[in-house]
C-alpha cells in the first residue's frame, strides 16, 4: 500500500531505502503518536480524527517515538530547496565548507534527505558530557550537527581530493555515475550506501532460521502435466479414475 500523496512526497527515498521498512508501516508509525486531533469520545461527538499532513523532519527517523514527540508541537514551516537528483550517500568523503571545521574532510555517516541534510562523522560537532555524577566527571561525546547539502558540504574530486561540483552522467556500460565537472573523474558510490537497517551489504546479511535460502528458493518443482487439479490429487492419494458420471442436462 502506498503512502498518501502528501506523505509520500515528504519522506525521502534514501530514508525508505535505509529503513528497509514497508511504506505502510512508516505511515502508520508516523501517525501513531498524538500527531493530530481526535474528537472526544462522548455521545455528542462523531468519532473523527484530524490527521497531521505536514511533518517537520528532524534528526530522528520518522518512525521513531522521538519524532512523534517532536511533531506534537506545531512549529514554523521549514523551507527546503527541492533537489531533484540526490547525490550524497553514506560513506562519501566530503569537505565541510562552513563553520568551525571549515576545510576539513570527513565521511558521511547519515543522510536526511527531507531536510537536505548530511551528517559528517566527527565534524561540525558540539561536545556534551553524558552521565555526569558527583563522583564521575562524565563521558564526553561528540554530537554532530547536520550540514546542508546545497552549499555547506562538497564532494571530493578523486584526482586531487579537493572539493568539486558534480554531474550525473552515463558511463560506457550505461550506468548512471557521478562525475566531477572539473576533471571528469568518476566518483564511485561507496559500499556503505548499500547499507540498510538489516544488513551492511546484501551478500553479508546474516540469515535466520525463518529465511528461505537461495538454493531452496530457486528450485522449480512444477512438472507440467495434462491433468486437472482433481486428477493430480487423485493420483497422489492413490484414488483410481473411474468411469465418468452420466451426462447431465439443463433444460
Amino acid at each position: 500500500m502506498r503512502l498518501t500523496q502528501s506523505l509520500l512526497s515528504s519522506v525521502g527515498k534514501m530514508t525508505k531505502l535505509y529503513s528497509n521498512l514497508p511504506e505502510s508501516y512508516i505511515k502508520r508509525a508516523m501517525e501513531k503518536g498524538k500527531v493530530g486531533w481526535k474528537t472526544p469520545r462522548t455521545v455528542q461527538y462523531q468519532p473523527k480524527e484530524i490527521k497531521k499532513k505536514h511533518y517537520r523532519f528532524t534528526m530522528n527517523r520518522p518512525w521513531t517515538d522521538e519524532f512523534a514527540r517532536q511533531n506534537q508541537v506545531s512549529r514554523k514551516k521549514v523551507y527546503v530547496k527541492p533537489i531533484p537528483k540526490w547525490s550524497y550517500f553514506r560513506g562519501d568523503m566530503v569537505e565541510v565548507l562552513v563553520g568551525k571545521d571549515k576545510g576539513k574532510q570527513g565521511t558521511v555517516s547519515q543522510v536526511i534527505e527531507e531536510r537536505n541534510w548530511v551528517v559528517v562523522e566527527g565534524l561540525n560537532a558540539h561536545y556534551r558530557l553524558v552521565g555526569k555524577t558527583a563522583q564521575y566527571p562524565g563521558t564526553m561525546i561528540a554530537s554532530e550537527a547536520p550540514l546542508l547539502v546545497d552549499d555547506q558540504v562538497a564532494l571530493l574530486d578523486p584526482a586531487d581530493n579537493k572539493p568539486c561540483t558534480i554531474e550525473w552522467r552515463y558511463n560506457e556500460s550505461g550506468e548512471r555515475v557521478r562525475v566531477s565537472t572539473r576533471s571528469g573523474r568518476i566518483i564511485p558510490t561507496p559500499t556503505q550506501a548499500e547499507e540498510t537497517y538489516d544488513y551492511k551489504t546484501a551478500a553479508t546479511y546474516r540469515e535466520s532460521e525463518r529465511d528461505t535460502k537461495e538454493d531452496d528458493l530457486t528450485i522449480i518443482s512444477f512438472k507440467p502435466q495434462l491433468s486437472t487439479f482433481e486428477m493430480d490429487v487423485a493420483e497422489s492419494m492413490g484414488i483410481e479414475l473411474g468411469p465418468p458420471p452420466s451426462e447431465t442436462h439443463w433444460y
Binding site: 455521545v43 455528542q44 461527538y45 462523531q46 538489516d198 544488513y199 546484501a202 551478500a203 546479511y205 540469515e207 535466520s208 532460521e209 525463518r210 529465511d211 528461505t212 535460502k213 537461495e214 531452496d216 528458493l217 530457486t218 512444477f222 507440467p224 502435466q225 495434462l226 491433468s227 486437472t228 482433481e230 486428477m231 490429487v233 487423485a234 492419494m237 484414488i239 479414475l241 473411474g242 468411469p243 465418468p244 458420471p245
Partner: protein, 174 residues
C-alpha cells in the same frame, strides 16, 4: 406563529421568516447510536463486558457473537460450562519435514522472475518433443497430424473432458 431559532443551529443566511418544519429543520442526528459492544473478538468483548465503565455505559446490552462456534455447553440447570474436546476444531496441518520453504526470504537471494505459465507453454511442454521428433523422422502427414499418435495426441476434447470427470471420491467407499 414564529418559533424562536437557536442561533447555534442555523446561520443567519438560512434563516426564514416562517417555520413550518420541525426545529431541527429535517436534520437527523445519528450521534447517539453507539456501536461500542460490537467491535472486537468475542473473547475481547466478554472481557470488556466485565469492566465497570462498560457496564455503566451499556447496562442492558447483549454481546453479539456473530456465530462463533462454542467449544462446549452449559450443564443443564447449572451455570458451569463444560468443554467438550470433540467440539474444539482440529487443525489438519501437512507434515513439514524436509520442507525448506520458510515464511521469509533471505536478502542474499537473487530476484527471481517467473513469467505466467500459459496454455501455450503447457502445450509446448507436453507435445513439442514428440512433434519435433516426428517431423525429423517424417512421421507427420501432409496436414501436420501424427501418423503414430501418442496417448495425449489421441485425446479429443470430449474424451479429455470425460477423463477429467472420472475423478470420484473415496469417502463413501467401505
Amino acid at each position: 406563529m414564529l418559533l424562536p431559532i437557536p442561533t447555534s443551529l442555523v446561520s443567519y443566511a438560512q434563516c426564514r421568516a416562517l417555520h413550518t418544519s420541525a426545529s431541527l429543520l429535517g436534520k437527523r442526528n445519528f450521534r447517539k447510536f453507539l456501536l461500542g459492544p460490537k467491535a472486537g473478538t468475542l473473547a475481547f468483548k466478554n472481557e470488556r463486558a466485565k469492566e465497570v465503565s462498560f457496564r455503566k455505559k451499556f447496562p442492558d446490552i447483549d454481546i453479539p457473537d456473530y456465530g462463533t462456534r462454542p467449544t462446549g455447553a452449559h450443564r443443564l440447570g447449572d451455570s458451569t460450562f463444560i468443554t467438550v474436546p470433540e467440539m474444539i476444531p482440529e487443525l489438519v496441518v501437512p507434515d513439514l519435514t524436509d520442507f525448506n520453504l520458510k515464511p521469509y526470504v533471505s536478502y542474499r537471494c537473487p530476484e527471481v522472475v517467473q513469467e505466467e505459465f500459459t496454455a501455450r507453454d503447457l502445450f509446448n511442454a507436453v507435445y513439442s518433443d514428440k512433434i519435433t521428433a516426428d517431423f525429423e523422422r517424417g512421421a507427420l502427414t501432409e496436414g501436420g497430424q501424427p501418423r503414430e499418435p501418442s496417448a495425449e495426441e489421441a485425446l479429443t476434447p470430449e474424451s479429455a473432458r470425460q477423463r477429467a470427470r472420472g475423478v470420484h471420491t473415496d469417502i463413501w467407499e467401505k
